[in-house]
Symmetry: D2
Subunit: 112 residues, 4 copies
């Protein structure tokens, strides 16, 4: 794969994936999620009511779903679309197949 | 809310909820999840491939589901069953209703 | 298992499970879901837009979740609570364990 | 909405969406799901054990998830890729944005 198709391990300077434009926003959301998980551990330590803990766990799951959805959207918008723009038609078909398949598998893991 | 309001019918001084017996196991799992979330932030920082990040996010979601399921099981086994053992029949019916409703609402939040 | 614990295969006259009180409501909801699935098949036959089909599939999934949640709530409120009311303490502990485990496994299948 | 509004950039007369190639397979799966839902209604009518009903509901939900995933994969592979191949660059950017956004929203509805 070449730079156009966003292969991992590439050496070029610019941000390689769709999400890198929003990198700071993703990092902020992940730090917040990390803090929420730490908060849940604290609730367990302090013997909080199980239902209140469950409410917090559901909130973290929801926040992770939102992060996933953002990553999936950017994978489709950048990696799949990037593959559709590969110049060589033979290579292009293969790239599209591979990126679409990866997206579907990732979504499948989220649905499970 | 304190222990008194949440553990109807129990007379003892010890930890009131089902999960407290496995408290250390829950804390270990939550620390591991916290570490996984930190690992995902590191992947974003290092511009890792979006699909690899999604795989990790799905793993954390799955780990949180497992924690939720454990908490739900213990809520049912302790809080609901505790309510069913309340001596006063009038109070008992109300307690059961309230604990079952709480459980169903918590499960509903997990399914969403 | 005996009648008290709601074993399948029992011969007695009354409705055995929690959901049987709302049997007609459940049947109505299931018929509606069946109709929705038939509607999705019609959309596929008529080459409707994939996103519009997905919207309908998501609606059916949501309706099934609501049915599941109702059944789980009634399992907890009737089968688990029924187990907690078994007279013989030894038998009771086993019944509770078994009903709670069944509930947790069923919820786990819904979360996956 | 008709074919014209939903298959931008495609010039041909044939079926416009990705899933139409597998139309018969989708119809077979949906008929099977319809039969499963009817089977669940029959279980409710016959007072089957709530946990056994829940197991069937979870199986239908899983089958619907598989259908959704197939539709999402074909939306990405055909509609998004089709948008990426629109000749006019200005129209193309708009088409890609709109198809990717639709895909993400559809996936979001499935995750909820």
């Amino acid at each position: 794969m070449d730079e156009t198709t966003h292969a991992p391990g590439h050496q070029h300077a610019g941000p390689p994936y769709g999400y890198t434009a929003d990198k700071d926003a993703y990092l902020r959301r992940l730090r917040r999620i990390e803090g929420q998980v730490r908060g849940i551990a604290r609730m367990v330590e302090e013997d909080k009511y199980c239902i209140d803990i469950l409410t917090q766990v559901a909130a973290v799951t929801k926040a992770l779903h939102a992060v996933s959805l953002g990553l999936v959207e950017e994978h489709i918008g950048h990696c799949v679309v990037g593959a559709a723009n590969v110049a060589d038609p033979d290579q292009r078909a293969g790239e599209i197949d591979s990126k679409v398949k990866e997206a579907a598998e990732a979504i499948g893991r989220l649905l499970r």
